[in-house]
C-alpha cells in the first residue's frame, strides 16, 4: 500500500507545481489587466512622454525593433542558410552553430555595453542606431537557430528534384527550400521580434531615452521599455500609473504575437 500512497503524493505534488506555475502567470496577467485598465486612456496614445503620454515611446520602440528586424533577419537567415545548405557538416558550420547557440543566451546587458563601446563612445553620445544595432545583435543568433532547424525539416527529395530540373543551388534554396519552410521561418521571425521588442537592458546605454517624438536615430531615441523602467522607479503616482499602462501594452503586444504564431502558423510538430 505504501508505494501506492507514495505514487499519489508525487502525482499530487506535480499537479500542484503545475498549478503554482499557472497561478503566477494568472497573477501577473490579472495585476497587469487591473492596473492597465485603470491607467490606460486615449490621452496616452495621443501625447508624448513629456506630457505624460506614451505615443512617442511606443512608436519609438516599434521603430527600434523594426529596423533591428530588417537588419537582423537577413543576416541571421543567410547565416542559417549557410549552415544548413552549404556547409552542412563542415567544421566551420559546427563552430558557428555552437557559438551562435551560446550567444543566444548571452546576458543582454553585456550586448548593450558592447554596443556602447563601439557605437556610442566613437560617436560622442547615445543614439538610436546604437539601440538598433544592439537589438539586431540580440536577434541574429535567434534567427540563425530557427532558420537552421526549419530548413532541416525540408525533405532532401525536394532539393534533389530541383537540382534534377537543372536549377542552380541558389535557385533551389531561394525558390524551393525557402518557400517550403516559409511558415516556420515567418514564425521564427515573429518570435524573434516579440523577444527583442520587450528588451530593456540593451537599450539603456545605447539609445537611452527621449521625452519627445523623434525620427532622428542619430540622437537619443524614445523607448517604451526604458521609459517603463524610469517611470516605475520615479516616486510619483502619475508616473507609476504610466509605467503600468506601458507594461500592460507591452505584455499584450508580446503575448499577442506569441499566440498568433502558436495558433495560426505553428505546423504540426513531427519528431
Amino acid at each position: 500500500m505504501n508505494r501506492l500512497l507514495l505514487n499519489k503524493i508525487v502525482i499530487t505534488l506535480s499537479t500542484l507545481a503545475a498549478l503554482i506555475g499557472i497561478s503566477f502567470l494568472l497573477w501577473i496577467l490579472i495585476t497587469l489587466s487591473i492596473r492597465g485598465y485603470h491607467s490606460i486612456d486615449w490621452h496616452i496614445f495621443t501625447t508624448d512622454l513629456v506630457n505624460n503620454g506614451l505615443r512617442n515611446v511606443i512608436i519609438g520602440q516599434f521603430i527600434l525593433a523594426g529596423i533591428a528586424t530588417v537588419i537582423g533577419v537577413p543576416v541571421g537567415m543567410m547565416a542559417g542558410i549557410y549552415l544548413r545548405e552549404y556547409g552542412i557538416n563542415s567544421k566551420f558550420s559546427m563552430i558557428v552553430r555552437n557559438l551562435s547557440d551560446v550567444m543566444m543566451s548571452a546576458p543582454s546587458i553585456v550586448i548593450g555595453i558592447f554596443v556602447y563601446g563601439i557605437f556610442v563612445v566613437p560617436f560622442g553620445g547615445f543614439n538610436g542606431w546604437a539601440g538598433v544595432i544592439a537589438l539586431a545583435i540580440l536577434m541574429i543568433p535567434i534567427v540563425v537557430s530557427t532558420t537552421d532547424s526549419m530548413l532541416s525539416l525540408v525533405p532532401q527529395e525536394l532539393r534533389e528534384a530541383g537540382i534534377a530540373l537543372g536549377a542552380s543551388k541558389a535557385q533551389v534554396i531561394y525558390k524551393i527550400v525557402l518557400s517550403a519552410a516559409k511558415i516556420g521561418l515567418i514564425t521564427g521571425v515573429l518570435l524573434a521580434f516579440a523577444r527583442v521588442i520587450g528588451e530593456t537592458a540593451p537599450l539603456l546605454f545605447t539609445s537611452a531615452n527621449n521625452n519627445f517624438f523623434s525620427f532622428g536615430l542619430s540622437n537619443q531615441y524614445p523607448s517604451l521599455t526604458v521609459s517603463i523602467y524610469h517611470l516605475a522607479l520615479f516616486p510619483s503616482q502619475t508616473s507609476q500609473n504610466l509605467a503600468w499602462a506601458g507594461s500592460a501594452i507591452l505584455t499584450l503586444l508580446v503575448l499577442f504575437i506569441n499566440l498568433i504564431t502558436r495558433f495560426i502558423f505553428k505546423p504540426r510538430k513531427q519528431k
Binding site: L13, T15, A18, G21, S105, A170, Q240
Partner: protein, 285 residues
Amino acid sequence: MLFNRFFRGLSHTSAWLVLTILFAIIIVLFHYSKSAIGDFGFFHFITNSKWIVGNDGNGGNFGGLIPILGTFLSSLIAMVFAIPIAMGIAIFLTEIAPEFLKAPVGIAVELLAAIPSIIYGMWGLFYFGPLLQSWFGGQSNSLLTAGVVLGIMVIPFMAALSRDAMNTTPSVLVESAYSMGATRYEVIKDIVFPFAKKGIIGSVILSLGRALGETMAVAFLIGGVFRFPNSLTSATISIPVLIANNFGEAGNLQLSAMFYMALILFIISFFTITIAKFYFLRKTD
C-alpha cells in the same frame, strides 16, 4: 551563375559575421577593461569588496566581490525555488496530465517565458516584494525577492527543456514498466528520470546561465546597494544591476571597472552555457 555565387558569398559572409560579433564582444570588453585590469589585477579585483569613486570623479578603488556574490546568491535562490516547481511541471506535462490539458498548460508555461523581464520587475516591485516582506520581514527589495522572482522567470524555460528531455524516453520502456505493474511514480523515478538525466541537468544549468545574466527584473528588486547581504532579506547588488545603475554617470576608471565586470559576467555565462549545451544537451541526431 553570378547570382549563384553572390548568394553563396552573402550567406558565407553572414555566417562569418556571427563569429565576428562574438569575438568583437570579447575584444571590445577587454579593450575597455584594460585600465581596470591594469590597476586592480584579477584576484585582487574579485576579492575586493569596495566600490569607492575617487574625489575627482575619475579614479577610485573598485572591487567585484559584492556584485559577484550577489549574482551567485540570487541565482542560487532562484534555482532552489525553481527546480522543484519546474520538475513538477515537467513531470505533470509528460506523465500525469490528461491529453486535453497538455496543450493549454504547455502554452501557458511558454507564455510565462515570453513575458518581458521588465514586467516581472514591475510586478515584483509593487506586489510580490511587499508580500514577501510581510511574510519574512526585512526589506521589500532584497536578495530573497530578487532570487524568487528570478526563479519564477526561469521556471517555464527549465520546465520546457526538462519536458523535452523526458519526452525522449522511448515509450516502449515506459509502457513495459507500466505493464509490469509499476506506479507512475516508479516509472518516473526508475525509467524517465534516469533516461532524461543529462537533459534535465542541462536544463538546470542553462537556466542558471540565464539567471546569472538577468538584468531588469533584478535591477528592480535586489535593492542596488553596494554592501554584503547580512541576511536573505537584505538588499545587495549583482553584476548586471551594478552596470545598469551606475554606467550612465561613471568616470573613466569606474567605467573601465564596469566593463571588467561585464567581461567577467560574459565569461561566467559563456562557460555555464557551454557546459550545459555541449556536455548535457548535446543533440544526437
